[in-house]
């Protein structure tokens, strides 16, 4: 990181301090160096950079198990039927006026029902402050900025490991980060004892980022019993639970089941925050649709909090995009379309569960000396394989298989067509481990 002084020195050196009057009087500014000449090339995003590299690879055998975007069994991206139908209904019928700063009222209402329950008393009593956000990223960022503005001395506890962009989000919001232990490399499961220790040892009233289901990148979720214990300990410590729910419906195939952790916390009386995304479960990736909600003590407070969330959105993008929100509210607001969506999301989840089984079976059949139980124990889009960065590099260089270097496999990229090839390659690089 360059200090301000160093930057200034660098600039002066490059430009030369004295500019001749002739140069100044000229029409152009050609005598000047670039103001941005000192800008360093940024490191590629570890996740999105994988797809870039994949696209650049000419090999016919290449496999992309990097980004968490769903693929069908032919390896093709999917637009859900319910989405196509919703788009047909939307096109040509409505105008494109600005949404309110807080976004689509209908989309928000439907989102709250999904997260908090159809008959949630909190919805009835209007205790939830909620705004439309730019998918999960945008929801987390709004919350982080809001947390910074209203609780400037708070920090955020983030699990190890987590989605890499979580760190970027809270860093850019200038909220100091701490971590809590989560993943147990030896078992490739949950390090529950350490997790509970870290919860207990954090100062009272700490903010925690929790993955509601289908933890990214590990696929390791607490059991229901474990969630209850976590919730209890949160009560004792008065911690603030912030849920990032990016995979509701996608994990087990059942949105209600996938919201279980949140419902447990709500039953226990926590005032939660929640980021929701429709990127995966409705396949709306590029539309950037999500919702940020904060459960408040009463309606008055919810109104105040919502108004302040809007104040953060306004200088960022004024108001959120309308198209994706319309798709969501059209689908969830129509019983037939919603029913279709539920079937389609289950279909996606089932295919992934099937691929987990296939990958594990293949590896076991190959006689791998390692245990691959975790492939079927873990849940959601990702499998934390346990492979090292060096092994991942070998997969890429020798087998043209692309994944993030933390060994995270996007199961959505696995098909009946490539699972054998994938298992073989993994076996090759791990058999002497």
């Amino acid at each position: 990181m360059a200090s301000m002084a160093a930057i200034s020195r660098g600039l002066l050196k490059r430009r030369g301090i004295v500019r001749s009057p002739a140069a100044v009087a000229g029409l152009g500014a050609r005598s000047m160096a670039s103001w941005f000449g000192h800008v360093e090339p940024a490191a590629k995003d570890p996740i999105l950079g994988v797809t870039e590299a994949f696209l650049a690879d000419p090999s016919p055998d290449k496999v992309n198990v990097g980004v968490g975007a769903y693929r069908d069994d032919n390896g093709k991206p999917v637009v859900l039927e319910c989405v196509r139908e919703a788009e047909r209904r939307i096109a040509g019928h409505l105008n494109m006026e600005y949404l309110p700063m807080g976004g689509s009222i209908n989309m928000i209402a439907e989102s709250l029902k999904l997260a908090y329950g159809e008959d949630s008393e909190f919805i009835k009593d209007k205790k939830i402050a909620a705004v439309q956000a730019l998918s999960g990223t945008g929801a987390c960022r709004l919350f982080a900025d809001f947390q910074k503005r209203f609780l400037p001395d708070s920090q955020i506890y983030i699990p190890i490991p987590t989605w890499s962009n979580h760190h970027n989000i809270w860093r850019d919001a200038c909220v100091p980060q701490r971590t809590f232990r989560y993943y147990h490399p030896e078992t490739r499961g949950l390090d529950f004892a350490s997790l509970m220790d870290d919860i207990k040892n954090a100062p009272n009233g700490s903010f925690f980022l929790l993955h509601a289901c289908a933890h990214n990148p590990t696929g390791v979720d607490p059991s229901e019993e474990q969630w209850r214990e976590i919730s209890h300990q949160f009560k004792v410590k008065n911690h603030f639970p912030f849920f990032d729910m990016a995979y509701q419906g996608f994990a087990s195939g059942d949105p209600e089941k996938d919201a279980k952790a949140i419902r447990i916390f709500l039953e226990d009386g926590h005032l939660i925050g929640c980021a929701q995304s429709y990127a995966k479960n409705m396949g709306l990736y590029g539309q950037r649709v999500g919702c940020l909600s904060i459960l408040c003590e009463d309606e008055l407070q919810a109104v105040a909090v919502k108004s302040q969330l809007q104040q953060i959105a306004r200088p960022m993008y004024s108001n959120p995009p309308v198209h994706g929100a319309l798709i969501v509210s059209t689908i969830l607001g129509d019983p037939e379309l919603k029913s279709l969506w539920l079937r389609e999301v289950k279909g996606m989840a089932d295919r992934i569960i099937g691929m987990r089984k296939a990958l594990r079976d293949n590896l076991e059949k190959l006689g791998s000396p390692l245990s691959w139980e975790h492939v079927t124990n873990q849940i959601g889009m990702f499998c934390y394989s346990g492979m090292t960065p060096e092994q991942v590099d070998r997969l890429t260089n020798e087998f043209h298989i692309y994944m993030t270097r933390n060994g995270r496999i996007s199961m959505a990229g696995v098909t009946t067509g490539n699972v054998g090839y994938l298992a073989n390659a993994i076996h090759e690089v791990t058999k002497s481990a």
Partner: protein, 468 residues
């Protein structure tokens, strides 16, 4: 890693923990942002801070207390609040001249025909998917947007010196540009015209810049205070960022002439100031896309660097789709490459990648000759209707013998007219005539039609004669 917002370094974390008092923090922030931020009331900056939580309670106690219990309600956004108030008004004869969203002669929002066509094409294309766009957005859209604003034959584009990233309309482009500058540029002060769009100050402040102003509008002439503008920019420190409205200045509608733009360009380049253009009305002001881009092109053509925020909200009627682009013209192609990589680091933690729908519509239109032509025709029609409304309002006031010089109505350009009415007169018009406009006297001409012009003229006449 770069400095955090408001110029504090990461080492400041520990210090901040000690100096935890909220009052201290507010004062520190206010001091950093400088005392010379003078905006006409209601000042967004001034009104922002009193509404922050004053006494945070980190351990609210688990009796169900919320950690956000002390959050107070934010004031209505002054611009969007006008529409909220208008909607609440039960009166049959009411006119909304608040938000700058185009309305037809029938007072209805308009979706351009060519936009509907583009949308249908997208819907009917079964191979279309909705995958994530790259962080920088849709590549076609970016290239076409750069050509639109800088000109297809722009040397800067041909020399690969322009980096363009898709952002969320004008607001998003300004914010991403501002954050990039706060992280990577050596000067943290941006000069904005007085007055300017109400959201500019907050956008740049939250991006991490300090905001100062330069004189722009002259209330006595209802025109440009060119002398004041030149003086103020001359006093700016070398390297300071200058926000320029490319055309159709919001809220005044007062634009420099071509000759004045050239003088400004010479001054800005000689002082080493960095221009940041906000282009929200290209094609909407005069009806000509090229004419409305002239100011930007002058700067892009002189070999120097600049930033440009583009919006398709008004000129393509894509308001709610949030389509825009940020371009940075760099001196060298290799600099542009590095700048693009750093822009990604600003965008990723904000929203990862931009929304696909609106950009797809724009790209579809811009790349098709026939659709592009149809767009220019529809755009010209919108601009002409507004010019027509200006003339009608001017004529109506003259017919009533309304005291004062109202020629500024036809001299100003774009969607807005700065009437010159004061707060009291505005309040009077709202109360007695149910005419809704922002308290700075700005009216959105797009909200007028032949039926409502007489009513507005009556209201202005009454306000001017009864309230001083």
């Amino acid at each position: 890693m770069a400095h955090d917002k408001a110029g504090k370094t990461m080492e400041g974390d520990n210090m901040r923990a000690e100096l935890a008092s909220p009052i201290f923090r507010l004062n520190t922030l206010a001091r950093h942002l400088g005392v010379s931020c003078s905006l006409s009331p209601p000042s967004p900056m001034e009104s922002q801070f009193p509404n922050q939580a004053i006494y945070p309670s980190p351990t609210a106690g688990f009796s169900g207390g919320s950690v956000f219990a002390n959050v107070v309600q934010a004031p209505e956004d002054p611009i969007l609040g006008v529409t909220v108030a208008y909607n609440k008004d039960p009166s049959r004869m009411k006119v909304n001249l608040g938000v700058g969203a185009y309305r037809t002669e029938e007072g209805k929002p308009l979706v351009l025909n060519v936009v509907r066509r583009a949308e249908q094409m997208l819907v009917n294309n079964p191979s279309r998917v909705k995958e994530y766009l790259p962080i920088t957005g849709l590549a076609d859209f970016n290239k076409l947007s750069a050509k639109l604003i800088f000109g297809a034959d722009s040397p800067a584009i041909q020399e690969n010196r322009v980096v363009t990233v898709q952002c969320l309309s004008g607001t998003g482009s300004l914010r991403v540009g501002g954050e990039f500058l706060a992280k990577h540029y050596h000067e943290r002060t941006i000069y904005i015209p007085q007055p300017t769009w109400g959201n500019h100050t907050k956008v740049f402040m939250l991006a991490g810049l300090s905001v100062k102003t330069y004189r722009y509008y002259d209330p006595t002439t209802r025109g440009l205070n060119f002398k004041g503008l030149l003086e103020d920019l001359s006093m700016a420190p070398s390297g300071a960022i200058v926000l320029l409205h490319a055309c159709a200045h919001n809220p005044t509608g007062v634009d420099p002439t071509v000759g004045q733009w050239e003088q400004m360009r010479l001054l800005i380049r000689s002082k080493g100031l960095l221009p940041f253009f906000d282009s929200a009305y290209q094609g909407f002001a005069s009806g000509s896309l090229d004419a409305d881009a002239q100011s930007v092109r002058m700067f892009a053509a002189d070999g120097g660097e600049c930033l440009t925020a583009q919006s398709y909200a008004k000129n393509m009627g894509l308001y709610g789709e949030r389509v825009g682009a940020l371009s940075i013209v760099c001196k060298y192609a290799d600099v542009a490459v590095r700048v693009e990589s750093q822009l990604k680091l600003v965008i990723r933690p904000m929203y990862s990648n931009p929304p696909i729908h609106g950009a797809s519509i724009v790209a579809t239109i811009l790349k098709d000759k026939e659709m592009y032509y149809e767009w220019t025709v529809e755009l010209k029609a919108m601009a002409n209707r507004i010019i027509n409304m200006r003339q009608q309002l001017f004529d109506a006031l003259r017919a009533r013998g309304t005291p004062g010089d109202w020629t500024h109505i036809i001299k100003q350009i774009g969607m807005f007219t700065f009437t010159g009415l004061n707060k009291e007169q505005v309040a009077f018009m709202t109360q007695e005539y149910h005419v809704y406009l922002t308290s700075d006297g700005r009216i959105s001409m797009a909200g007028l039609n032949s039926k409502t012009v007489p009513h507005l003229a009556d209201a202005i006449h009454a306000a001017v004669t009864r309230i001083k």
